[in-house]
């Protein structure tokens, strides 16, 4: 049976008719063409599919699209505004926080969620915050550096600059 759902994704309302069993990650990638969110393990382990649902970082391979009806979702496509990279993205670029890049969208969404809750995390808190996201290339060292960079940049950026970006 089809369900008519309406989901706000990166600030834009999307409506669609979906099957009950459609996963949120497939809704994002296949129905809406938002392929920034990756499918890695498909078994709730790797975190490549991480998105924000109502502001909380979740694995979109383990959420049904119908569960997101009437809710707000933020994907990696929602980080940059007006062609300007978000400090989290800038951090991964500047600190070489990736090699193959497959885990990067999910890693950035977890980092973003962490920094929303804790703007000044210690190295331990950063490692704790991204512990649901697996990276098989970097050994995490540069990812942690990237998140530190983002945290500093975000703290140094006045709210006005953040508004200007949006």
């Amino acid at each position: 049976m089809g369900h008519r759902i309406s989901v706000t994704i990166n600030g834009t309302v999307h409506e669609a008719e979906v099957e009950s069993r459609l996963l949120l990650v497939h809704f994002l990638r296949e129905v809406l063409g938002l392929t920034g969110t990756h499918i890695g393990c498909d078994t709730t382990n790797c975190g490549a599919c991480t998105v924000l649902l109502q502001g909380r970082a979740v694995k979109s391979c383990t959420v049904l699209a119908v569960q997101a009806d009437g809710r707000e979702v933020m994907t990696v496509e929602g980080l940059a505004r007006n062609g300007q990279l978000h400090p989290v993205q800038e951090g991964f670029f500047e600190k070489h926080g990736l090699q193959c890049g497959f885990c990067t969208p999910g890693m950035m969404m977890s980092a973003y969620a962490l920094l929303q809750q804790n703007p000044n995390p210690s190295e331990g808190e950063i490692r704790w915050g991204i512990s649901g996201n697996l990276c098989r290339c970097t050994g995490y060292v540069n990812i942690v550096e990237a998140v530190k960079y983002a945290a500093e940049k975000m703290r140094a950026t006045p709210a006005a600059a953040e508004l200007e970006r949006s």
Binding site: M1, N45, K59, T62, V63, L64, W128, G132
Partner: protein
């Protein structure tokens, strides 16, 4: 991986949800956090015909103390417990357990109530709730039923919950004076289930002897286990090194681990012994006012 076809229903009240369970019986499953159920459905190990999503029901995400107990709602997430100042300051066993369940992303969705209803012996909350003597509030077509946690787990993935009942709340007794708890887990990596984990809760009397002892064991048996002999070994005694070692040995003997890819049974038994020793020392230290 894609689940088999099912019909999705999202009731807006517990009564409506119970009505759906009455109508659909064993063909229905309740969706709370979904972080055990949805993976099982994707693997086609579970193929319910009806999925009753309780996430749209208001007022089920509470986390508050009243009438001598802490009430944890059916939709209170692991992360809510992990970040709660009330839990951190007054329920150290719960705080310890909440932060070692799966990973931060899973903790944002998964619920304590759902974890108990799922009754996986590898679930951390089962052992934690056995240690603190929690009660499960089951809401069905008639009035609410309060089930002591000791009577809740029947077998692996099996509870005394009826097919038309929903776990609407978990009630944890408020901590007594001079009480302390701890939860310790050894896992191969973040996100994995425990090789073994233990929850310990002690209440000391004026002379420093154990007035009350609660010990729960995770993933070393067909269900979450209460280490009754270990509890009896310690009850009434001053928890010195000898008494703690005796209790730890009793727990390692009464658990029933299986050899699997997380290790041989003999290793897990010894792990239980070591973890119980550490967790009891920490619980006693906390009961005496330490961190």
């Amino acid at each position: 991986m894609i689940p088999d076809r099912f019909e999705y229903v999202a009731p807006s009240s517990v009564a409506e949800a119970v009505g759906l369970l009455q109508r659909y019986g064993a063909e229905a499953k309740v969706l709370a956090g979904g972080h055990s159920l949805i993976p099982l459905m994707k693997l086609r190990l579970a193929s319910p015909r009806y999925l009753v999503d309780i996430n749209r029901i208001r007022g089920l995400a509470q986390l508050q103390e009243d009438d001598g107990t802490l009430g944890v709602g059916a939709l209170t997430r692991h992360a809510d417990l992990e970040t709660s100042e009330l839990i951190r300051s007054r329920y150290p066993l719960l705080a310890d357990a909440a932060r070692v369940i799966a990973d931060p992303l899973v903790r944002n969705m998964g619920t304590l109530a759902g974890s108990l209803a799922h009754a996986d012996p590898a679930g951390d909350w089962g052992a934690a709730m056995l240690a603190v003597r929690a009660q499960v509030v089951a809401t069905g077509p008639r009035r609410d039923r309060t089930i002591p946690i000791d009577e809740f787990f029947v077998d692996t993935f099996t509870t005394t919950l009826g097919p038309d009942e929903i776990v609407s709340e978990i009630r944890v007794p408020k901590p007594s004076p001079r009480s302390g708890g701890a939860y310790l887990k050894v896992e191969r990596k973040v996100g994995d289930f425990a090789i073994a984990a233990v929850g310990t809760y002690v209440v000391l009397d004026e002379k420093g002897a154990c007035r009350q002892v609660g010990i729960g064991l995770c993933n070393v048996g067909a269900t979450s286990l209460r280490a009754k002999r270990a509890e009896e070994t310690l009850r009434g005694r001053v928890p010195d090194e000898k008494a703690i070692a005796d209790a730890a040995r009793a727990a390692s003997e009464e658990c029933d681990p299986a050899s699997d890819l997380r290790g041989p049974a003999e290793y897990k038994r010894d792990l239980v012994r070591v973890l119980i020793g550490r967790a009891l020392r920490r619980a006693v230290q906390r009961a005496k006012g330490g961190a």
